[in-house]
């Protein structure tokens, strides 16, 4: 199968998910007035009157915060998980990360706001801090599922630690890391919006909060569609990666 066809297939699956969402939304809109749940058609018909002039700036900063926060958490989580596994710290790290995982996001958000102030730092720190535990635990669990027969084989040919990482641990991690990207993105979107609710004066979260407070439901639904669309495109990209250049790591 060519790369283009694989991408189109991945996009088709995401499109089905998108259409399903629009279908459910349309159904819900039948039972509620337009100021509570506007229909997709109503949102499309009034576009773009409910959007601020600098919408693209808000979209850009949210994308940047999301990318930075998730990127840092992804790198740190993968590194920390691999280190914990190879150094046999996995039980301590897992316990620590599980403890971090129960910290309420709103409380952390307020703390970061007080420490870092209003701006991009608060949402970025919040995304990093709240996605890191899940990504680290997933990485450790992914490595725990490695093939121990292959580990024995490498030991029998005199492999060094770096060979174990190169030929066994990293390849065993690829499916987990891609899974981390998918899980991490969903979580990171929620968190970046929360961070922008609390500690920012721009970004989609800020717009969503303002629209919510003034009952601009068409704008609220439009922003939700933008987020959904972005998530589905990202998932299609991850799916494309797993079906092309990283396909060989899924045969184990």
């Amino acid at each position: 199968m060519t790369t283009t066809r694989i991408f189109i297939t991945s996009l088709r699956n995401e499109l089905i998910a998108f259409l399903l969402f629009v279908g459910l939304w349309s159904l819900a809109a039948v039972f509620y007035p337009v100021y509570v749940i506007p229909s997709p058609l109503a949102v499309a018909a009034s576009y773009p009157e409910y959007l601020p002039k600098d919408f693209s700036h808000h979209l850009g900063v949210t994308g940047l915060r999301l990318g930075l926060g998730l990127g840092i958490a992804f790198l740190a989580g993968s590194l920390l998980g691999t280190l914990a596994f190879t150094r046999k710290w996995e039980l301590s790290i897992n316990a620590f990360m599980s403890a971090l995982n129960v910290l309420p996001g709103m409380v952390l958000g307020v703390i970061f706001l007080l420490v870092l102030g209003i701006g991009s730092s608060t949402p970025i720190a919040l995304v990093t801090f709240l996605t890191l535990p899940t990504l680290t635990i997933n990485t450790v669990n992914g490595l725990a599922k490695r093939d121990t027969n292959l580990e024995q084989y490498l030991a029998s040919i005199g492999a060094q630690k770096s060979h174990f990482v190169k030929y066994l641990y990293l390849p065993a991690l690829v499916p987990t890391l891609l899974g981390n990207l998918s899980i991490g993105l969903g979580l990171a979107i929620k968190v970046v919006l929360m961070g922008e609710f609390i500690g920012s004066q721009d970004g989609l979260g800020y717009l969503l909060n303002t629209a919510r407070l003034t009952f601009e439901m068409k704008a609220v639904f439009f922003y939700l569609v933008v987020l959904l669309f972005f998530t589905l495109i990202f998932q299609a990209g991850v799916s494309l990666l797993s079906n092309t250049i990283l396909r060989k790591y899924f045969y184990a």
């Binding site: 024995q152 084989y153 040919i157 005199g158 060094q160 060989k248 045969y251």
Partner: protein, 216 residues
């Protein structure tokens, strides 16, 4: 001179005795087979020799510092092609892939009928083909001592004979410890057999001519 000497080995897993006071030796260039009931500790024996496990007691001397082990399962890396799997020990041990090795590699591919599958991944091969790849990977290193744990299980009779003939023709001085359930394999490969009738490895009968194993 012996390539391998095992002296008074003991090994147990909980209450289960696996190896009890086992001693044996293999002379330089000797090819030994181990015949024992299932679950009697044959794989444990090989794993201790490969330094993947420790015995509870006893000692051993192995002249070859890096013996080749061919396991019961192929143990191929799923993300590497056939060729990459076969050359992996060379990369790990930083040995150059000389012209002689490339020539031996091609000869092994012909014998094992793997020539058309060099760029295939393990999931694209049958069980027998995977096992052949594992054998080529082991034998291509030109070991002086090789340990084989039922290595021909999923390989047909004709192919098995071809592989054994090629191995013995290209490595005439090879020392070997073969674990097998198949008297035919022992007859083709080994010049003496340690025959165990208990469900652990301890006392054994030494059979100089493996052909006679049929009569036991």
């Amino acid at each position: 001179m012996n390539i391998l000497t095992v002296l008074r080995w003991h090994k147990r897993f909980g209450d289960q005795v696996t190896i009890a006071d086992l001693s044996f030796s293999i002379p330089q260039g000797g090819r030994a087979a181990i015949f024992a009931p299932s679950g009697s500790g044959k794989t444990t024996l090989l794993q201790i020799l490969a330094r993947l496990q420790q015995p509870d007691g006893g000692s051993f001397w192995l002249e070859d510092p890096r013996p080749v082990v061919i396991f019961q399962e192929p143990r191929l890396f799923p993300h590497l092609t056939v060729e990459e799997n076969i050359f992996l020990p060379f990369r790990v041990q930083k040995k150059p892939l000389t012209a002689q090795i490339q020539q031996d590699y091609k000869a092994w591919l012909r014998v094992c009928e793997l020539g058309a599958f060099r760029q295939h991944f393990p999931h694209q091969l049958s069980g027998g083909m995977k096992q052949k790849v594992a054998l080529v990977r082991g034998f291509l290193q030109k070991p002086t001592f090789v340990m084989l744990d039922e290595p021909f299980q999923s390989i047909g009779q004709q192919a098995k004979k071809g592989i054994i003939q090629h191995l013995l023709a290209t490595n005439p001085g090879l020392s070997m410890l073969l674990v097998t359930h198949d008297p035919e394999e022992a007859r083709l490969m080994a010049d003496f057999t340690f025959y165990f009738s208990t469900n652990y490895l301890g006392q054994y009968s030494l059979i100089e001519a493996p052909q006679t194993i049929f009569a036991l």
